[in-house]
Symmetry: D2
Subunit: 336 residues, 4 copies
């Protein structure tokens, strides 16, 4: 356990470079020894700057003796082709979200991990590592508000790129975080989902925004999710659980209250980096600490699969206007 963990990073785009910076400059106990990228030039540049060996492809990186653990930051469709070999090699894998881009691929990964007989995959749903969500979860688990019965989540983004962001992404890229958090906080799966869209925010033109997700959970809890992606004022993440005997909600995250002009004011984070940078640090440190002990924790392949099922159902629900059930395979005991 005293040895530093040698990490090979697949995908050296924005998020990959950010994780490399994190491992190198912020966290303890690991270093990046290997990189690869479909864009060889980019991989060379990053490798040279960070002192990491550049590999021609995922397969050779994964099989290198200089790689103890693998971090997958390539684009979603390429994940499965890196995850399966890493599982085959028995090396701990950190996969950025999504786990894969279809339920079928998620199931293949689950089957491979189950065959391996132990958890090897952690997925980058970082909200579980946020101190505020962790405190919310701890409050629920303490019994302070009784059994949770409803959860209201709001996911507000200052703006999205009008030429890139689509109606489906409001669910597949944005609401997935709220889906993950709802499952995490309530310890229930999603049984069915409705998505209701009303009047559109004129700022976003034709974009179906905001939307309301309504989820009925397997244990009977009810979840509502507001997703607003062009609200202008900041990146505002809200969550309130209503239980049998009380409620618990995320507090504001401002450090200072200022009075000036005609009122008092506190800061709202500008974007997800400001709001969740510490959660990213914490999730990767957790991966490193676990990997050095030979284990893997955090969001699992099962979580990645379940979120994919709900996301797919949500997209169908938004299109059809109907409630769509979320049918899942039986949960392997590995994930209990």
């Amino acid at each position: 356990m005293n040895e530093e963990l040698k990490i090979g990073v697949i995908g050296t785009g924005m998020i990959g470079q950010d994780h490399i910076r994190r491992i190198t400059e912020v966290l303890s106990g690991a270093r990046v020894t290997a990189v690869t990228d479909a864009d060889r030039t980019r991989a060379e540049e990053v490798g040279a700057r960070r002192g990491a060996t550049v590999f021609a492809d995922s397969a050779s990186l994964i099989s290198s003796d200089d790689v103890d653990a693998v971090m997958i930051c390539s684009w979603g469709p390429a994940h499965i082709d890196a995850v399966l070999p890493a599982l085959a090699a028995g090396k701990p894998v950190f996969v950025e979200k999504p786990l894969a881009t279809s339920q079928g691929d998620c199931v293949k990964i689950i089957e491979a991990e189950v065959a391996a007989g132990k958890r090897l995959i952690q997925i980058g749903y970082m909200r579980r590592y946020d101190a505020a969500y962790a405190a919310l979860k701890a409050t629920i688990d303490s019994g302070a508000i009784g059994a949770p019965l409803m959860y209201h989540s709001a996911h507000r983004n200052a703006s999205v790129p009008p030429d890139l962001y689509t109606d489906d992404m409001a669910i597949a890229d944005t609401m997935v975080h709220d889906i993950d958090v709802a499952r995490f906080l309530l310890d229930e799966e999603v049984s069915q989902i409705r998505v209701i869209a009303g009047r559109k925010n004129s700022v976003g033109g034709a974009l179906r925004d905001p939307i309301l997700g309504v989820m009925e959970m397997s244990g009977g809890a009810i979840v509502t999710v507001e997703v607003s992606v062009n609200i202008g004022y900041g990146y505002d993440i809200r969550g309130e659980v209503s239980g049998e005997t009380g409620t618990a909600e995320l507090a504001e995250s401002n450090h200072v209250v200022v009075k000036s002009g005609d009122g008092f004011a506190g800061r709202v984070p500008a974007d997800w980096r400001e709001r969740f940078i510490e959660a990213y640090d914490t999730e990767v440190q957790d991966f490193i600490d676990n990997a050095r002990k030979g284990v893997v924790g955090g969001p699992s392949a099962w979580d990645g699969y379940a979120i994919q099922v709900v996301s797919d159902a949500g997209i169908e629900a938004a299109r059809s206007g109907r409630a769509v059930p979320c049918a899942m395979i039986e949960k392997p005991t590995l994930y209990n």
Copy 2:
């Protein structure tokens, strides 16, 4: 206008006595000159204590020269039989909610008021007179958050009497306030309503509690309402509007922040009296001030009718599990 308004009160039960106390001991410009009640003994007792003449029935009270304005605090089914004669007499009427107990009766009242050619009815939906809701409305109207797109309301009650409170009352008696507020804040009617019930709060036994109302408004806004009536910790009224460029929500109403034991704490109102007592004072003072000028304002018979339509639809929606449309008669110009 310098003359005090002489008010006749029909119904001297709990709420009637409370309004008599309010008019006599708290507010300005009116006095209670006449009372009547189906329970003659109770009317005699109250009349004697407050120095008001006791009338045998509504009709004689309404037609008395000693009555400038009528306040109806009898039980719901009796409202119509007092409202119509008061309209016929051309006297301003304050009716406690509900206006009547069926859509048909509400329409009859509307027709009578339209025939009278001027507004004579104010209904006791007092939330509009609450300083916090008024500030929320003013914020929306100021344009500070852009056009409103979503509204999330929470209506939490410490407890309800298990032998008296029914599933339907969660809509007809409790959620009606949120329906009123949603229409007031957004200036839209309700187009359709769904009611979703999940796992029941074990504190309430068989009561369907909590419930989630989801309303789609005529202008496209979306409204969610959490109703929890056995949540134990207090009477907690929340509301947050999400607009095109910002959000606005009701602040906590505590006067003091205390630190002791293991944290900081603020008071949640114990019940609706504590939370809304000033709103009751303000609504009745407004009725008095208006009546002395010969006009009537506040929530109208139209509001009473519209809320009845949505309440009926909500009860059907809760039973059927389906979205139920809220079909209304054409709105008379009197109410524009």
Copy 3:
């Protein structure tokens, strides 16, 4: 007690007219039957508008059978010449602050009231009737924070008129409210006071602003008061008590929290009217309710005297830079 209280108002300037409006249009149980003012024309105008008899002077107003209680709103130096005759007439008196303009005059008034053998005077220190201060006092008295040991008060005013407001007024007109509140909350008299002035707010030119008052109380508690009168952003009244086992402070008074631009925000009152209008209503209603029962409560002549002593000491302390003791006469048992 069923009779309305007939109030004679001495002084029909701004505050006098505001109290007349309050009694006439807002409160219950009283009407203004008589007015007088050094400016006869103004008295005539107000009397005509409000239907009150105009008297030539205080003496004739006080002795009129049409006056049950007296409200003194003339300027400070004229108070004593109205208070003493009102005491002699045995009529309840509401005196706007200050009670008088010298300790000697305050003592004369106390002696006259003691001779009368019952409390007849209420002084307009309205903060004690503010719901937030009342909750703070109730918290202390409940024992929730243990015995109070320190109190920090901040009195911030958006701006003062540069040609009228003087260094002494920061103590005699502004800090007196904090002195009153400190005595009220802690149930102790002030033993000595220091006033420390540092760098001046450039907005106020030569005005000695802000200042810090440091008071040592008779029971050993320590009080600090920040007075800032040109702070621009609003009228901001803060107060925090630190006790043996906890703290209690005034909460913000905003009704709504708005998120827009780059943060969340709540309103700070614009001026003392917005912040304390309900306290003014409550204090005068209390005077009316008491007077109709033949008693007087609220801030007493003793309070007026004690505040005068501390204010005088504060002015001397500010000039000398030294701690100045607050020597008082023995407290008559009437005020225990």
Copy 4:
């Protein structure tokens, strides 16, 4: 800069072990290569567990080629005997507070550092690295509240050990943090200090608690500091700056708001570890990052000296009841 910083730690008691844990398990870019302690057995134990060489004394540790930078965590009186050799060796030094235990020793250290011609010393006043204080400082520097004129600080501790904690420690160990922060936020030195003690908290027996410090700053700002060390409810650090056009204060640090029982509630930190653990991490990471670049930042030897002067004056002020001036040597240009 790519090489890890090799740190030698002098003093392996509680705080020394905590820093070793921090460097080894949390932070990036350094490792502990050497330890020493007056208690040889303890040093052996820690060295064995952490894989660090144990040195017989400070001198040999400081001169070792395996030590790039020195961290001094011995008790205060021993600091100077480690600091001076480290300066002589030209190695960056992190010294836990206090810098030394007398003004004379602080001056000797300053003279040695000035002679070295560059800053080599960072002192462990970690509050400057707290995200909330940093945001408060940034708010002031942004001009959002105008020039700062007053600062009110509260330093509340749940409890102190009755047999170990003395009256003087309330200033020398506790208030020193507020003195540091006041100097940091306002960019002014302390000109004079008064300390006022009132009624004692009965929980602390004979301990002079709470106390109020009143400081006049070199630029004219006024600072008040409440120190309460047996307040029971938690570790509560407050700070509010009042400026020419606004105010700024530290927000509460709770992550979650819970409603249950009879109110809403948020957590207050239990102790300084909970409140400032991230500030400790940040200050040491800053020391490491700087040292790897060959520089030193953060609180300087000058800060350590200035705080010592004010602390000494504060103790004298508490004993004498008088204002005590804070006379300092001329500030060397190295610290500008």
